[in-house]
């Protein structure tokens, strides 16, 4: 069999084999049982003491959210001011300039919300100081925020009736000291020994074999590339992200990066099952998500390996598939697989340029982000899926004519309203934003911005529309990948996507935490014959169907205008 396909399959199998024990470990660790990382306890005690935190004090859902939002707000200001003044700060060997206010605004938010949309290139847009103190720092803490919020959900479901969702500071701290940091150290060392730079030296200048003088960008990248994947952040050290030969030197590192980005989201699912002692529920969710992932991955790999019909007409050989925007060392199968993994997981790193993917592969990438819950981001994936579950419970309840229940708690109007609002918000932000962009493109083509609207698009026709639609989809999903041909470093895109990023992050976190806070307080109703069994396959399929219906209803029109029309235009 084809070695490229075997490579992809083995990568997936390794991911599952590692995620399962990691999930078991995460469940034990957050439950306070004995684990192998208990040697970190003195460090954590020191952190609590310095910060004036009592880790044993429980929080209700409002206190939990206030702590989370307070510290996130602080990071936003901190990041914004560093990026605005980076040129004058130390560790700037390449002499890179300050960011403009609108670009700092966008970048600070983008990394705060775990999105990592980048309207700059790493080689020239940031300094080593901001790469570490802003980018790497936010990659750690935004991932830990996501994990902490997922654990709040677990806590709400673990006990029959409770208003204690756990201590945000404690869960947050342990997410870094017990999960992210140890895994990152292992991965960064693997990267460094495979050729990724890790030293603080600036750009190098060399004379090539043919006699040209070129510069080579470097820097302490290995550590950042580890957290960028393990924390499902995705922002690249270099402009070309994981397509760059120093950021992803060979097929082995490509497998490592692919495993790393799915590892924690998948492990959190298994942890969910172990933690609330409903393993079957977690397995059903895992099964549904995997089926969803395969629906997107298999056609994409097929189309990318098949190659471009337009290039086939020119009569050359496409044995290596559609190669525009791809790297030879990965090939079309691993590139296609990555493009779906990175969009369903909300990583947003790329090892090929999505703008040059085949039209329908591009649609699959968009669908991954529009659904945003097949595994999903670090911690937040499970929160997104939880919203779908609440809607499924509500519809299931209507179908059998009973007040809907979820794991012993009545789901009433208030909870369903929150879930519905969260779902509708995405459709509003994505389509509203795209409509606004299209309006400016058509009617104000020569507006006096850094990139004039008439020059925004790198491709004409339907694909140009896709570039705008993709950008808002990616922002709302907190994904961060892009159809990078889009001229996005100007005030319009920096500001509009900045707001979409903020809303697309915090509303889908606040919503589920509020729902679980409200549910967990309610009286526990023991299971009876009429209870809707949420851990059954039937319920899993119901949830899956609802995901498909909601997505199709919300997004069919823009998908037709973009990738589908492009596909038929190529025939």
């Amino acid at each position: 069999m084809n070695t490229e396909l075997i490579g992809v399959m083995v990568t997936f199998v390794i991911t599952v084999l590692l995620a399962f024990p990691l999930g078991k470990y995460i469940a034990k660790m957050f439950a306070g049982e004995k684990t192998i990382t208990d040697f970190m306890y003195p460090v954590e005690r020191l952190i609590y003491r310095i910060s004036g935190i009592d880790p044993n004090k429980g929080m209700n859902w409002k206190e939990f959210l206030k702590s989370m939002l307070a510290i996130n707000m602080l990071w936003l200001f901190y990041a914004f001011f560093l990026l605005l003044n980076q040129a004058h700060l130390p560790l700037n060997p390449d002499g890179n300039p300050n960011m403009t206010p609108d670009l700092s605004f966008n970048t600070a938010i983008s990394f705060l919300v775990n999105c990592n949309l980048q309207h700059y290139s790493g080689e020239s847009g940031v300094t080593y100081l901001t790469q570490l103190f802003v980018i790497t720092f936010l990659q750690f803490v935004s991932a830990a925020t996501g994990i902490a919020c997922a654990v709040a959900l677990f806590n709400g479901l673990k006990h029959k009736t409770t208003d204690n969702l756990g201590n945000f500071w404690e869960i947050f701290t342990k997410s870094i000291t017990r999960i992210l940091l140890p895994l990152c150290i292992i991965m960064a060392v693997i990267m460094a020994f495979n050729g990724t730079p890790a030293s603080f030296d600036g750009k190098d200048s060399i004379v090539t074999l043919q006699g040209d003088t070129v510069k080579v960008s470097r820097g302490p990248a290995a550590g950042m590339i580890a957290i960028k994947h393990l924390g499902t952040n995705g922002g690249g050290w270099f402009g070309a992200n994981s397509a760059h030969p120093l950021e992803n030197p060979n097929y082995f590192t490509n497998m490592v990066e692919l495993v790393a980005q799915v590892l924690i989201p998948m492990a959190m699912l298994f942890a969910f099952g172990f933690y609330i002692k409903r393993k079957k529920f977690a397995y059903v969710i895992f099964g549904i998500m995997t089926v969803g992932m395969l629906f997107l991955v298999i056609p994409t790999i097929y189309w990318e390996m098949q190659g471009s019909t337009a290039i086939a007409k020119m009569g050359i050989m496409q044995a290596t598939g559609a190669m525009e925007g791809k790297e030879v060392r990965f090939g079309p199968a691993a590139s296609g697989y990555w493009s779906i993994i990175t969009t369903i997981i909300s990583t947003g790193s790329v090892n090929s340029m999505h703008d040059s993917s085949m039209p329908l592969s591009g649609m699959m990438q968009m669908l991954g982000m529009l659904i945003n819950a097949f595994y999903g981001g670090c911690g937040v994936g499970i929160l997104n899926y939880f919203i779908y579950i609440i809607i499924a419970v509500f519809i299931g309840g209507l179908m059998v004519g009973r007040t809907p229940e979820f794991l012993g708690h009545k789901v009433e109007a208030r909870e369903v309203k929150i879930a519905a609002l969260v779902t509708l918000l995405s459709a509003f932000l994505i389509k509203g934003g795209t409509a606004l962009a299209a309006y400016y493109f058509v009617n104000h083509g020569n507006a006096d911005w850094a990139v004039q609207p008439a020059n925004w698009l790198n491709n004409p026709g339907n694909h140009g529309f896709s570039e705008m639609f993709y950008e808002f989809t990616s922002s709302n999903a907190n994904n961060g990948s892009g159809f990078e041909g889009l001229g996005d470093n100007n005030i319009f895109w920096n500001v509009t996507t900045g707001f979409v990023l903020l809303l697309g992050r915090f509303i889908p976190i606040i919503g589920p935490i509020a729902i679980i806070g409200l549910l967990a307080k309610k009286k526990f109703i023991p299971e009876s014959a009429g209870t809707l069994k949420v851990d059954s396959l039937t319920f899993g399929i119901l949830t899956f169907t609802i995901i498909i219906i909601l997505t199709a209803l919300s997004y069919f029109p823009p998908l037709v205008l973009g990738p589908i029309a492009e596909y038929f235009g190529m025939k």
């Binding site: 490579g7 074999l209 397509a243 030969p245 190669m323 791809k326 790297e327 030879v328 060392r329």
Partner: protein
């Protein structure tokens, strides 16, 4: 609100030190023992550095194996793909132009044997590799210019071809810079 602000500030400072100072320093320290001591692995000819092992270079002269088209002209100060959409007419014209010019420089090559990667830009603009077919199709041109035996070049390409990982995973490839360095050594 004070209840939340002070812990936030202090916790932030702790994690800046842990994640943005100690962690990168630790990795930089360990990487000193890695090939290239964490500065990127370089390749030298006669003691002179001619490039980075993983970063592709521009080869335009007929006597060298060419790499792939690049959207950044192989200047590794930056990196980018072309971001051209598959149906973009201007882009398709560009690809057709590359095919035509390849055939002019390689009159012996058959069009249906030109692998797509030789006429399409890579994702990073710095792709160091070609598929074995991408190197093989250039052998006739180079043999003619360098007055070398084709069989010598065929065995050179074979010897420089890197098999899939463990012989099982991923595509086979040839590093163009290393191939050209060895080519210069052939007599």
């Amino acid at each position: 609100m004070k209840k939340y602000v002070w812990p936030s500030i202090k916790l932030t400072m702790v994690f800046i030190i842990l994640c943005a100072v100690l962690y990168p320093l630790l990795i930089a320290g360990i990487a000193k023992f890695a090939p290239g001591s964490g500065k990127g692995e370089t390749v030298s000819v006669n003691g002179k550095v001619v490039g980075y092992a993983n970063i592709g270079q521009k080869f335009t002269e007929d006597k060298y194996f060419w790499g792939r088209p690049s959207a950044v002209d192989y200047n590794a100060a930056g990196s980018a793909g072309s971001n051209k959409g598959a149906a973009n007419p201007e882009y398709l014209k560009q690809v057709q132009g590359r095919i035509d010019s390849f055939l002019v420089h390689n009159p012996a090559a058959k069009k249906e044997e030109i692998p797509a990667e030789l006429v399409t830009a890579s994702g990073s603009g710095l792709d160091p590799d070609l598929s074995p077919a991408g190197a093989t199709i250039q052998i006739k041109r180079i043999a003619l210019i360098r007055k070398l035996d084709e069989s010598k070049l065929i065995s050179l390409v074979n010897q420089q071809t890197e098999k899939p990982l463990l012989g099982l995973f991923g595509p086979a490839k040839v590093n163009v810079l290393k191939l050209n360095i060895e080519l210069d050594k052939l007599k």
